[in-house]
Amino acid sequence: MKRILSTIAVAIWALSAGMAQAAEELFIYNWTEYTPPELVAKFEAETGIKVTVDTYDSNETLLAKLQAGATGYDLVVPSQNFVPIFVSEGLIQKVNVSGMSNFKNIEERWRNPAWDPQQEYSSPWQWGTTSFSYNSENYSGKGESLKEFFEPNEEASGRVSAFQTPDEVVNLANIYLGLPFCSEDPREMKKVQDLLVAQKQHIVAYNSETMSDMLASGEAVITNHWSGFSRLGRLTGAPIVYAYPKEGVVGWYDSLVVPTSAKNVDNARKFMDFMMDPVNMAMLTVNQGYGDSIIGSSAYYTEELKSAPEVNPPADVPVVFATTCSPKAQSLIDKVWTKVMQ
């Protein structure tokens, strides 16, 4: 989908790169609809660096792209559980985030996080949760249990959409089944596989991009969704409700990192520092509606954001952050998903 568009975009700027050598540039490769244009404009105005944004739809796609030798990206935005993989595969470089002037603005609990203990590679972007959303006009459920997503009732059957890549779907399934993340036990993963294969008969489409559109048109009544992205769908006027099921939701933390093949490392570092400024981070958070980890940014939040239900998980719903899976666990996940996809 947008993956193909992005390939075309890459081809076009690869051709035009030769012409635009003189100006300072920064190429950001980010998730779909995750880079507010006004933020880019502000950075361009302040630094005179020309920013180009290209998009992907999953951590898996990003990994595959970089692993296949894609070059020309100066900043990419993986989730926390993928950062160690990028490090071990030598795909991202140390940029000494802890030495940046705005590093002091990172909240204590997010400083030197487990996936980057010295904060050498990554600087904050957004953190949020993954669960499912439903259309409250077409569906009478209340999103109280993950059962509604994995084992939908008559009303939702045939109108459920799940993500196209396994990472978060499998983690949600683990939460629902009460299993640990990244299990290396084939018997446990067999349970996940059975659940997902059984879920498939209720699935209308596997989709990681147009979830809100599908909910709005009624093509789906339940879709896998991200908290802030679901809020954006609701703000367009569709009756979209983000569910906080009692079993829990998957938490994730996306960071800016610099690929080893980056050409404009200094500009990338400037952007990382720029994003650790509370005013700039607040701009991103207001636009996206996830959480941020910058001290003082909440002073710039809008009232709408402060009261948005997607942003404020109920206290009794556990938010379980995904961890990096071992190769063995990862290959089990891939096996399960390949089976589901048949």
Binding site: M1, S58, A64, E89, Q193, G218, E219, P327, Q342
Partner: protein
């Protein structure tokens, strides 16, 4: 003349053909060799390959290690291959049914208008296929261009659920590749000597006989070329299956894309590509044989 050029004719012939060999070598043979090599290697869990010889990728086409480690027959991928061939055949037949009359109609027009019609046929190529396929979501979707009028007129009372089905994939494929059917058929019909048709009707041939005994046999090369041009890209298509099929009815193209983009199993993706290549080469051999037979028939 420059003295560094070889003087004997056979070396000169090689030199003259060198650009061709270079292009085929760089753009076709080397990628194929890489693909073939990767298909016999082991997958690296985080993408890429380990340089260890393995036939696991080919084994995976029909067998799998179950989660408990036993090797069992798994028809899953064969089903996908079968579905791909089925849907591609369906799309090819529909393209032929619609494409042939269009090509025939264009041939019957005065010359200046013919060129204009051919130009019209090629217009869709000016817009990106992805965008044109997205348009079909609006046409086929719930409360879309087709459903909304039917719903408001009371002809149907609930959604037809046309999207995210095999039918939607077939429509998308037919739409994408129809021009590739029309153009070669037109090219062979254009050379048709219409005096033959007049002669046939002078000799009391019915319209049906003229069609089946003269027009279709003489345009057969175009029909076969059109069918191949439609069938092959259909096999490898992944935009229509992903967008219109909802990614749950995988076809070969989307299966390959999935192996590289998500499942991180490059060897298996390569093995699937090799299999597709084999199917395509077989189709081409079949075509070439037919062409040879026709040539022999024409001489006798």
């Amino acid at each position: 003349m420059s003295s560094w050029l070889p003087t004997n004719p056979s070396s000169r012939r090689w030199l003259g053909l060198a650009p061709t060999y270079l292009v085929i070598g760089i753009f076709m043979l080397i990628p194929m060799i890489i693909m073939g090599t990767y298909s016999f290697m082991e997958a690296n869990p985080y993408g890429g390959v380990k340089p260890v010889f393995s036939t696991a990728a080919y084994l995976q086409l029909a067998w799998e290690y179950d989660l408990d480690g036993t090797l069992v027959f798994n028809p899953g991928y064969l089903k996908i291959i079968w579905r791909s061939i089925g849907l591609s055949t369906m799309a090819t037949v529909i393209c032929l049914i619609f494409g042939f009359p269009v090509a025939y109609y264009i041939t019957l027009q005065p010359e200046n208008r013919r060129n204009f019609y051919i130009y019209l046929i090629t217009i869709p190529f000016w817009t990106n296929l992805l965008i044109r396929t997205f348009a079909w979501i609006i046409i086929l979707g719930r409360n879309g261009v087709i459903e909304l009028p039917l719903l408001s007129l009371g002809i149907i009372d609930k959604s037809l659920r046309m999207m995210y089905s095999d039918g939607a994939i077939a429509i998308g494929l037919t739409y994408s590749y129809l021009p590739l059917m029309v153009l070669p058929i037109y090219a062979s019909l254009e050379k048709l000597d219409f005096r033959l048709l007049e002669a046939a009707s002078d000799l009391y041939s019915s319209r049906l006989e003229i069609m089946t005994k003269i027009v279709i046999p003489l345009s057969k090369p175009g029909i076969i070329a059109g069918c191949i041009l439609v069938f092959i890209p259909c096999l490898g298509a992944f935009i229509a299956p992903n967008l219109l099929g909802g990614g749950k009815k995988l076809m070969l193209g989307s299966l390959v894309q999935f192996q590289f983009a998500s499942a991180r199993n490059w060897p298996f993706g390569s093995a699937l590509s090799m299999l597709m290549l084999a199917v395509v080469v077989m189709a081409l051999i079949f075509y070439a044989r037919g062409a040879k037979k026709r040539a022999a028939g024409a001489e006798s």
